[in-house]
Amino acid sequence: MIWRWGIFVWIAAAMAAAFLWAPLVPVLQETTRVLYFHIPAAWVTVIALGWSMIQSVLYLWKRDLRHDDHAAAAAELGLLFCVAATVSGSLWAKSMWGSYWNWDPRETSIFFLLLIYGAYLALRGSLEGDEKRARLSAVYSIAAFVAVPPLVFVVPRLYSTLHPDPILNASGRVDMDPTIRLCFTAMLVGFTFLFAWLQSLRVRVSRLERRLAT
């Protein structure tokens, strides 16, 4: 139980530090605070989808449904965090660029990501039989993840974008105020642990569902 409260205190402290201690980025002003939610949500999206792909590979290799449980849970959570990143980004865009949606390369990429993983969940929902669902979903998940690095890391760098430079810029450096960087890193860590906790819960729900169905 203690580590759960650790996650709570960690994220609460990072939020407080972001509001009360970290300076504002001059061009962003008050909207700087969205940074501490928007980017960690996008970060967890990539981690979750990557974990889904790894578990899919493990399922095809070992044919153990526990890996399928992990793959499905991670894809669901990845989609959830992707929606969170999209909504927060859209509100931020309204404030900074005057419109909720601008078909900016990053916005377009995340839109395709939502479609691809929405289709993954639709596929899972349409298949009967645990083995068949797990096998076809695993193949789809692996194929889907091939699109993630280009959509998240390559496309937005190829075209001119309204978004600021990536955190790790073209010269391989992180140009960020040290205080902002500390709060930001703390949120990344907090979100990652939150994802791990939610992932374990979702997997337990899947196992319980299977136990009740048999």
Binding site: R4, I7, F8, I11, A12, M15, A16, F19, L20, E30, R33, W197, L198, L201, R204, V205, L208
Partner: protein, 35 residues
């Protein structure tokens, strides 16, 4: 009152409610697993 404190307070409240909800879900899940 400083707007910073208001927004921070709302953010912490939302995070607290979400955390409490996840804990509740976990407790119920634990009960169901033991049955």
């Amino acid at each position: 009152m400083d707007r910073n404190w208001v927004v921070l307070g709302v953010s912490l409240l939302v995070w607290g409610l979400l955390f409490a909800w996840i804990l509740r879900v976990e407790r119920r899940l634990h009960d169901m697993e033991r049955r």
